[in-house]
């Protein structure tokens, strides 16, 4: 990383990445609902319409399948669309386009075409917006060959990974946690990218490994801080990308600590935590002192009432308690 760093929010980091990549490459353009005049409902795209005009920052009708459909066609014919789907809950409206078209075209055609397309979307509960606006459906896309799945947790990663995603020649779905937009962190000043497919050992430790995705980094850190006071040293690995999955880093850590907890905000069952647990178990079986533990979102539609919603999302308390039972 560059030595010149500033402290900015994830929102601004993403906004910067969009500016820089649009500046760098004429083929990059944005499409989505209210991303132009309004600057996006999460204000992530502000200023871009003013700078690049309505041909490169396109306000669309409310039509998720159509938006992604157009983006696929544009990507096949030389452009590099960056599409915003406001909530990942609504990627379900475009999932045929994403998985049957975007993800498969290259392979089905024997490599004749590429679909360099980025879908930015939001994930995560905690906003008290109930079951249709709070899902984290990244496991769905991770299941599908032909697409990459990125979910950063810090401003620096968000910027560097989005830039990589935009330069990637494949469809990439980029999950932004909606509660994290105001999260601040240091971001290098100059040009940089972060490679897709590399997990980040955020903190090292010998006693147990916590593998987390997206905003789950923060309760993990909180739990780790508390555990540290008790002399328990946790290694924290922020996945950053789930497809491709940086299996090696995970297995190495598991081999070192022998205790692993995976934390993710998708529904726990048949979700991301299962695959990670399975891969680690396959790769580090003889080193594990106990099964890989998992903490996903509860297997219920996300409820509205704050007290209920909070029960369904993995918390620092839960992480703390699970680790405690593991290392004791």
């Amino acid at each position: 990383m560059s030595t010149h760093e500033r402290t900015i929010t994830i929102r601004d980091a993403i906004n910067e990445a969009l500016f820089e990549e649009m500046e760098r490459d004429d083929q990059v353009f944005l499409m989505g609902e209210d991303i132009g005049v309004a600057g996006g409902v999460f204000k992530v795209t502000s200023g871009l319409l003013e700078r690049y005009g309505p041909n490169r920052v396109i306000d669309t009708p409310i039509a998720e399948a159509g938006i992604v459909g157009l983006a696929v066609g544009a990507a096949m014919t030389g452009m590099h669309p960056v599409v915003e789907i406001m909530f990942c809950d609504f990627t379900t409206l475009a999932s045929d386009q994403i998985i049957n078209q975007a993800a498969k075209l290259r392979y089905m055609t024997g490599g004749q075409c590429a679909v360099p397309l980025v879908i930015r979307t939001t994930m995560g509960a905690g906003r008290r917006t109930a079951a249709q606006h709070s899902q984290s459906l990244h496991a769905w896309f991770a299941h599908i060959p032909g697409i990459k799945v990125v979910l950063p947790s810090t401003p620096a990663d968000a910027k560097g990974l989005l830039k990589s995603a935009i330069r990637d020649n494949n469809p990439v779905i980029f999950f932004e946690d909606k509660m994290m937009y105001n999260q601040k962190g240091p971001v290098p000043k100059g040009e940089y990218t972060i490679p897709i497919g590399e997990a980040h050992v955020y903190r090292s430790g010998m006693d147990a490994t916590v593998i987390c995705t997206s905003s789950m980094l923060y309760p993990s850190l909180e739990a780790a801080d508390r555990l540290k006071e008790e002399g328990i040293h946790i290694e924290i690995i922020d996945l950053r990308t789930i497809k491709p999955l940086d299996e090696r880093t995970l297995i190495k850590s598991a081999q070192k600590t022998g205790h692993v907890l995976v934390v993710d905000e998708g529904y726990q069952s048949f979700g991301v935590t299962a695959e990670i647990a399975a891969r680690i178990t396959e790769g580090a079986f003889d080193y594990l002192d106990e099964p890989v533990r998992r903490l996903g979102a509860a297997d219920v539609p996300v409820p509205f009432a704050p007290a209920l919603e909070d029960m369904t999302i993995p918390s620092a308390d839960q992480i703390y308690s699970v680790i405690k039972t593991m290392v004791s």
């Binding site: 409902v41 409206l93 109930a130 249709q132 409820p303 009432a305 209920l308």
Partner: protein, 336 residues
Amino acid sequence: MTTRIEETRSSTGKTTELSEDLLLDMYKRMVTIRKFEEAVHDVYSRGVMPGLAHLYIGMEAVAVGVCVTLKGTDTITSTHRGHGHLLAKGGDPQRMFAELLGKKSGYNHGKGGSMHIVDMSLGILGANGVVGGGLGIATGAALSAKLTGAERVSVAFFGDGALNEGIYYEVSNMAALFKLPVIYVMENNQYGEYTPSNKSTAGTGPARAEAMGIPAMTVDGNDVLAVYRAALWAAERARTGEGPSFIECQTYRWLGHHMGDQGDTYGYRNSDEIERWKKKGPIKRLKAYLLKEKDIRVEVLEEIDQKVQMEIDNAVEYAKSALQADRSEVFQDVYA
């Protein structure tokens, strides 16, 4: 078949046939919505209400004009901006407000919040957080009415923005093919979030409906009587087996898209426009009609206003003091 808006705009003059009771009922329902939404505005602004709230202020005539033509067994589906539809169809302000505050005695036990309120006993098949999400449900409810021979009408309220989701097209095509008793009520409040309707919609809703053989009409959605007459026409068609109808109601939302953007920093409309529409406000308009054309005394209306205000105040008080959603229910009702 499309009636241009100009033709219906002045229609309040010709409605001598409506009883005073009905007119006052409409007035009361509209005031109920207005005061409910004002209460939401107030409570939300104090930071007491979690989540999102999309207010219906300015659009009251649409929900009320349609719902007064419906029977208890008729069904509606609503939108993210659902409070108005629910109240117009008879929803209980107490249980609604309790739901908005995430309380156990809320309609949905606090699990749904503003965008998901349902009252099956009143035929309210739900607000919906997915734009266009009610269209399939409403058309399916009409299908079940047809299959069981129930003389039930199904209404789908949806926005000008929702018109561009493919689902509308898929289900309305089937409604036309199967002659289903459904009414598509498009609330054209000129914007979907921050995008003007003419930037998101090529052609018009009514033209699109007619292209599928669905008779369509555009009415002044701030004129409750115009909406009412259109709904009567459509409900009659539905009840007599003539199939679906489409009503576009031209109206306007006075406030932001949701409570979180009241300042209107999104630069998509100007205050002149808002003021112009406020002058044409649906409640003001009905009130003027009742006073001038129907010789109703102002005290009668004031009494209604006060009663409604009390009812809403009570609902808010009730909701505030109600028990929080019950944590022991968090894993219940995932499956039946």
